[in-house]
Amino acid sequence: MFAVSKAERSYLLETVETGTRLDGRSLYEYRPISLQVGVLPSASGSSRLRLGETEVLVGVKVEVGETAESSTENVHIYFTVECSGSASADFLGREAENWSSELQKALESAYSAASVFDDERLKLVPGKFCWVFKVDILVLDTGGNMLDAIGMATRTALSTTLIPRVNIQQSEGTFELEIDDNPSACDNLKVEGAPIFLTFSLIGSHFVLDPSVQEETCSRGRLSVAVDANGDICYVCSFGLLDAVELARLLTIMKKTGKVLLDRLDECVRNGNSS
């Protein structure tokens, strides 16, 4: 549990009133992000992301799985969010469990809405076989704004994920799948449509983007939105009393910031791959 005294809280509120935050950021600014891809050689795709004090590690495993007859999807995606021991020490009892299922739910909802995997190359045998993506998120350090960090890390991990080529042989109604083990014969997953999350905390009467732990502790409400590259909204979750008129303004900020953030992340992954 993060402790904030009354005096610190009121100083934080006063400072936010003037348009700056206690680490010097302006209200709609992210903390510096550090990113590393391909950190886990045994995973199909992986990334490690640090957002201020928050640090997460994401591993993606790709498998071929069976699917229900009625399903038309090419990809099933599962998320698990786990707290490493040192991070879970911040929670009491059930809290950690609730917290991770909330994050999982948000990711599932956003990814299913964004229809990320509309890619012809991912097609196996409809109604019979599909790709199963297992995205395992490990929280190494909790420093506020976990959802955004997880969202970005998941997207980058997926963008570096390699999909093996599969030869499908059909004989007498049964399908034989032959997976090409050669790492050079893998396709990169296209994740242009994958959303990222942007979170505002309501402090006093102001909204601040990318809240730190201290700001989260002092906040009265939160607004998390998942946006994709087109600026479409894929998921929204908010609580706490917020003015209805503010919504439109916040969404414009989110749309703009989300675009920049996506560009930067992609650029960063490209640079990381080339070097």
């Binding site: 009265r220 929204v236 979750c237 609580f239 706490g240 003015d243």
Partner: protein, 261 residues
């Protein structure tokens, strides 16, 4: 009370059949018939019952009372807190889901619904007036035919008012679905929600231009999203007005009761 005993047949038809054959039987902008009741549970400090079409929710409020399980050290004792337990009745699951009933404890969905309800009501209940106390909400979702969260919020609002707990305002809630044909469907039922491209639930206090909670699933452009929220807010306000009408009526009834006896 008569309406509670009314029986509805559950859906056993496969979903794809419903998708083609299903037809909304009321205008897109009309919510389903609303049934409200308070004081259903005699033992509780307050209780509320809400029927939104076939969706039925019952809520009991206990408290303010000293917390049963004190959480050591972390609690700010100067203001009260809200606890919430949401339970889905075992017959509220539809055919395909019935296998998923958890053997014990709360399912993930129930826990998430509990957290959401707490978050809706934390800024609404004037917790400073109940230091060192806890207000316990027990919610039973009897049948889920879409818009369950909205129904739960309404029922909790009724129950809190019934328990005479100090609130900033009554809370109202509404769900709007955006269909594949880009129609706005107010208060969607289960099939409509499952087939929607966007599903928004909004909770708001009646007497302020503010929102307590927004939950949105699905993909919409910013403009569409804003207009959907706008619609949901309007519907929630209409529903809210009928709730306050109902409560007013109830309190009048209560006033006349001792005289007649």
């Amino acid at each position: 009370m008569e309406r509670i005993s009314q029986r509805y047949g559950p859906f056993f038809e496969p979903t794809d059949w419903l998708e083609t054959k299903y037809k909304r039987e009321r205008p897109n902008n009309a919510p389903r018939p609303l049934v409200l009741n308070t004081g259903t549970i005699a033992d509780a400090a307050g209780s509320g019952y809400v029927e939104l079409g076939k969706t039925k929710v019952i809520v009991a409020v206990y408290g303010p009372r000293p917390p049963i399980r004190a959480r050591a050290g972390v609690e700010n004792a100067m203001s009260g807190r809200i606890t919430c337990e949401v339970v889905k009745s075992s017959f509220c699951y539809y055919s395909c889901e019935s296998a998923k009933i958890p053997s014990r404890g709360f399912s993930e969905e129930e826990r998430l619904l509990s957290i959401r309800l707490i978050r809706v009501f934390e800024p609404i209940v004037i917790l400073d007036k109940y230091p060192k106390n806890s207000i316990d909400l027990f919610v039973v979702l009897l049948e889920d035919d879409g818009s369950a969260m909205a129904a739960m919020t309404l029922a909790t609002s009724l129950a809190l008012a019934d328990a005479s707990i100090e609130l900033l305002s009554l809370v109202s809630s509404a769900t709007v679905a955006v269909s594949t044909k880009h129609e706005y469907l107010v208060d969607p039922d289960r099939i409509e929600s499952e087939n929607a491209v966007g599903l928004i639930t909004v909770s708001l206090p009646l007497h302020a231009a503010q929102l307590c909670e927004i939950q949105h699933n699905g993909k919409l452009s910013v403009e569409d999203w804003l207009s959907t929220v706008q619609l949901a807010v309007e519907v929630a306000q209409t529903i809210g007005n009928s709730i306050s009408q109902f409560l007013l009526q109830e309190s009048k009834n209560k006033e006349t009761y001792p005289l007649s006896s």
